[in-house]
Point group: C2
Chain length 430, copies 2
Amino acid sequence: MESIAEMMARRARLLGPNVATFYDTPVHLVRGKGVWLWDVDGRKYLDCYNNVPHVGHCHPKVVEAISRQAATLNTHTRYLHSGILDYLDALMTRFDARLTSAIMVCSGSEANDVALRIAQAVSGKTGVISTDRTYHGNTTAVSQLSVRKPPIGGYGGHVRHVKAPDSLRPLNGTGGAEFAAAFTHEVRAAVQSLQDSEFGVSALMICPFFANEGFPDLPPGFLDGAIRAVRDAGGLIIADEVQPGFGRLGSHFWGHERMGFVPDVVTIGKPMGNGHPVAAVVAGHDTLAAFRNAFGYFNTFGGNPVSCAAASAVLEVIDAEGLVENAFEVGEYARARLRELAGHYPVIADVRGAGLFFGAEMVLDEAQTPATAFTRRVVEGMRQRGILLNSGGLGEATLKIRPPMVFSRENADLLVDTLADVLAETPVIA
Amino acid sequence: MESIAEMMARRARLLGPNVATFYDTPVHLVRGKGVWLWDVDGRKYLDCYNNVPHVGHCHPKVVEAISRQAATLNTHTRYLHSGILDYLDALMTRFDARLTSAIMVCSGSEANDVALRIAQAVSGKTGVISTDRTYHGNTTAVSQLSVRKPPIGGYGGHVRHVKAPDSLRPLNGTGGAEFAAAFTHEVRAAVQSLQDSEFGVSALMICPFFANEGFPDLPPGFLDGAIRAVRDAGGLIIADEVQPGFGRLGSHFWGHERMGFVPDVVTIGKPMGNGHPVAAVVAGHDTLAAFRNAFGYFNTFGGNPVSCAAASAVLEVIDAEGLVENAFEVGEYARARLRELAGHYPVIADVRGAGLFFGAEMVLDEAQTPATAFTRRVVEGMRQRGILLNSGGLGEATLKIRPPMVFSRENADLLVDTLADVLAETPVIA
């Protein structure tokens, strides 16, 4: 059997350098089922991290839908096929009545790339506002919104970054309405800056759960002032639901519903096909028309019958198995248990999240210094004990937990009990 | 059963306006097998157009590979999996030894978007040269290369379009070496223009078969002068093999081999997974490293185990069934029969192509005026008789024929015999 080192060498040769893996010793996976993954040595892992296998790894209903359609017909949307129409009819019942139409694509990056152009077509402007800790995808255009590494080709000057909301360290030192007011103030300044530039305001692109920003605790209505500022300037609100969508947050099917607003454009991706490459851009008919009329967009793979079969099966399983309700209940339970644990470990400064997207932020001191190295050690300790999770947010010091939606109370107990063991043996040192 | 009109209304509502379909009366397909497609009324069509189902619609080996892997494990490349490594090891044997490594993505558009940035990372420049009749994909960055509709957001000024080679109407009125010299001259002027601008030369992006330009008859070496001009200026050669790749041209596995050059970057897509959304960017290790080191690229779906299983099965079937040889033989046979037909129909000005990517250009007069409307009628007539094909090239007046690679002599006979019938009854009027 090929060793981990041999596989890593093959990766370096075939994929190029700097191709990230998770964990000090990468995991060589060979099988998945529900919330479980198995490595090549037969070791079993509880998957507490992967949001793409939304209804569980290798869900038989999704596998069957893919297999059946792949054996029947797979072609593109220049022929008529009921698959894409039936899927979108089902999908649209999950959205506010103002969101009626969609473009199907292959990845969240493609979806966000289209979304940015929809906003340009409607507004006639090109300036975009995003947060300073976000990630919306990897195309040339979308990578302009990230600050992780400067995009190749350089920044275009049309993006304004606003400080990501941080409920543990609110901008003005307070919570509540003033916390929201501070964010609104940031967005207003960005709007003004774009209006004073050659670019103007086309869109605010935002994950309504601020998933990459460490999913701060935000009250419904938190974004209202910011949204008003962007719309008053003629800009569109693009909600990137690639991470929080499809019921993951438990209380609502979409992150924007939980925050209490209706976006102009919604992008969806990762969980949509349970791993099959499918994504979409959803908007009102006229909004989409502005893009469709200005630009002859066609996506060869987008909306193909197999992708639509996979996506339809995912929607059906979410309902049939009550997975949104499960996300709510198990998420609440897991967070209650984590809060109990936090009472014993001051390093856990905050337990937060919604449904099955949650975590715990680790800090070193009362100044809330991110416990980056400590969190790293906890993540590795969990992996050693067969629990897969990771970290994100400020200083990568927030445990990021977003398991398949079939995660049970029993799974949550195993997660928290194991975390207690790991915390007990991991010294809190910088 | 839902009527065509009802489906079209549902499409307009759910997909927005201007979503193109093929043919005056769109085809509602429900089943495919090999070279055959069936519509909802049970009518059978010979598919002479679709290059995505490369080894035939619903090939059982590909379906089985997808079904098996989807039931076993589907995750991403931050875990180790042998699927991507085994696939790329197999794929790299098809390339010149200088092309060693790859980034796997979901679509040809994503591949070309990455390819443009690889060229930027290596060259430090941003200017791109492409032809004035090309199409390389639909991301914001890649759509800058198309002239069909102005990209939303406007042109960036960094693209120079050179006149597409046209073997029926060579630039300098002659063929042979002077034809190539004229193209080289165009590219040299574009290089100079970019060097005189703020952008500099990063790449020539080109389909080595000029698929969207009407696949002109070009001798090996035709591109040598143009390639030298770009490389002398520090630019890279990106070969977009999304259409000609995977043996379609019969004589070679890749279009660039047939033209006798080794690109710096190759993009592959459509046929790679026989319809499963998978694509890739192939380059030398150091070339890829320049991009990987400058930019933390990760693609959630790219290189997932199911995509790799589909792509591996496609490579295996191509070999097991001798499909490259078949493309050569059946393509030669079909073109010989088309040339015979052209002897009776002066409207057919040229029969050309390679392997199973070929067609016939229709002109109205000795001035070679494209017979656009006539060709449209022929395409519709063929569809009425159960043969699916389409047109492209200058004035959309070149029949474009690129069936699944399992196309047989018998299929070619049916194609040409039916075309004879359609030509006999279609009046040649503008």
